[in-house]
Amino acid sequence: MNALDFSVVVDALPFLWKGLQFSLLLTAVAFVAGLVLGTGLALVQHLQVPVLAQLAKGYVALIRSIPLIMVLFWFFFLVPLIAGWMFNNGRPMPVGGVLTAFLTFSLFEAAYYSEIIRVGLRSVGKGQYEAADALSLSTLQTYRHIILPQVFRVTSPIILSQTIILFQDTSLVYVLSLTDLVGAASKVAQLNGRLVEMYLTVAAVYLVICTSASQLVAVLRKRTRIATNR
């Protein structure tokens, strides 16, 4: 065993930082897009919109049953075909791994967020709907102003825990050879042969970020408890 030499990590820091920025950006985009889409998926199921509700249910069950790497491969294969069919007269259009990653993670996370929100929707008391009805609010207004704010409040700790998992999952873009934190580390490691130092550093970075984030979630969990329970 060779002596550990972490100076190679210091040299690679700017490159690793770029990789981490990509991981964080991917997490942020997938969080926003996934939450919006996921809320939509949950609402069509909750409102029992014909056809759409069944489609949403099937989509969520499908995505939650197959590994993320398989989903990434599917999108990497399908997105150029679909894009070509839409914009390029049916000829496959190269889309690139980065865009594929953003798309995949947004659509993949939507399935997981939608399950959280669907359960959150069920936890809102019947009286809330009746009161909104009595105030003659429209369905849209009821959900926008009465129901969804409560749902997000109740589910926020679970949504954030899920987002920490999402941040960890973004490391799997490694299989598309993208340069996220792990990708950056492995590219440097291939050049200088310092696998041990590079991967230990990456593990430490993830450990610090995710541990601090989950401490924050624990604090939030205590704070968001709605004081007056139904």
Binding site: M1, N2, L62, R64, S65, I66, P67, L68, I69, M70, F73, W74, F77, Y112, E115, I116, V119, I158, S161, Q162, I164, I165, Q168, D169, S171, L172, Y174, V175, V182, S186, L195, V196, Y199, L200, V202, A203, Y206, L207, C210, T211, S214
Partner: protein, 253 residues
């Protein structure tokens, strides 16, 4: 669509045999990893609720470390880093293991210990959900803390958490696909190989996806059966309240 599966590959086998061999490694990894995860998970989960400060702290450290590093990175630590950190002789022995096993054992350790951290948290939640009277009654009967846990607390806690363990079972079989990054030819890797060899990407991926869906169905049914079989008598009406933890996701994939 699936006719590609019945064409011969360069090694003389049919492509479907590639897929089935991938399925075998996926199952071996998932089932083997599960038992490691369950055994360590229960121990660490009990440790989390120990009154002994040192034990509780050690258990907490275990959970934080293994839960807060991505599975992919842990996979690399087991495969690339660990053999370098061990004494040279032992490290070389690990590196020289014949092909499938050289990737299989690190993957097994990785998935087992990662999932154990998640199971430990479920076990802890189960123990904390039990009424304090259980502990007090055990003490009143003169049971030692160890005996109380062994005979009274853990058996009840495990039966309580079966629904939330379902998502961990689903998690571990999905996480097996991460092993392809260290060269194990499990199901996803084989699907990709077939696609690269034949350009029949759709058929290859669809076949693998259907197998994963069937696995999910089997896992779900099995856990439902276990839940019914071992349900604490008289506790059925309380089941609805326990739905939420199912959602906590079983890991990366």
């Amino acid at each position: 669509m699936f006719d590609v599966l019945f064409q011969p590959a360069i090694d003389g086998q049919l492509y479907i045999q590639w897929l089935l061999s991938g399925l075998m490694w996926t199952l071996l990894l998932a089932v083997g990893g599960w038992w490691i995860a369950f055994a360590i998970g229960v121990l660490v989960g009990v440790g989390r609720t120990s009154r002994n400060r040192a034990v509780a702290l050690a258990a907490r450290l275990y959970v934080e470390v293994f839960r807060n590093i991505p599975v992919l990175v842990q996979m690399f630590l087991w495969y690339f880093v660990l053999p370098e950190l061990l004494p040279t002789g032992l490290g070389d022995r690990i590196k020289q293991m014949p092909p499938p096993w050289g990737a299989f054992f690190p993957a097994l350790a990785c998935l087992g210990l990662y999932t154990a951290a998640r199971i430990a948290e479920q076990v802890r939640a189960g123990i904390e959900a039990l009424p304090a009277g259980q502990d007090e009654a055990a003490a009143a009967l003169g049971l030692s803390p160890w005996a109380a846990r062994r005979h009274i607390i853990v058996p009840q806690a495990l039966r309580l958490i079966v629904p939330s363990l379902t998502s961990e079972v689903m998690g571990i079989y999905k996480n097996t696909s991460v092993a392809l990054t260290i060269g194990l030819l499990e199901l996803t890797a084989q699907a990709r190989q077939i696609s690269e060899a034949t350009f029949q990407t759709f058929g290859a991926f669809a076949a693998a996806t259907i197998i994963y869906l069937l696995l999910a169905l089997v896992a779900y049914r099995l856990m439902l059966w276990i839940d019914r079989r071992f349900q604490i008598p008289g506790s059925a009406p309380a089941r609805k309240a326990r739905r939420l933890p199912i959602l906590r996701r079983g890991g990366a994939l």
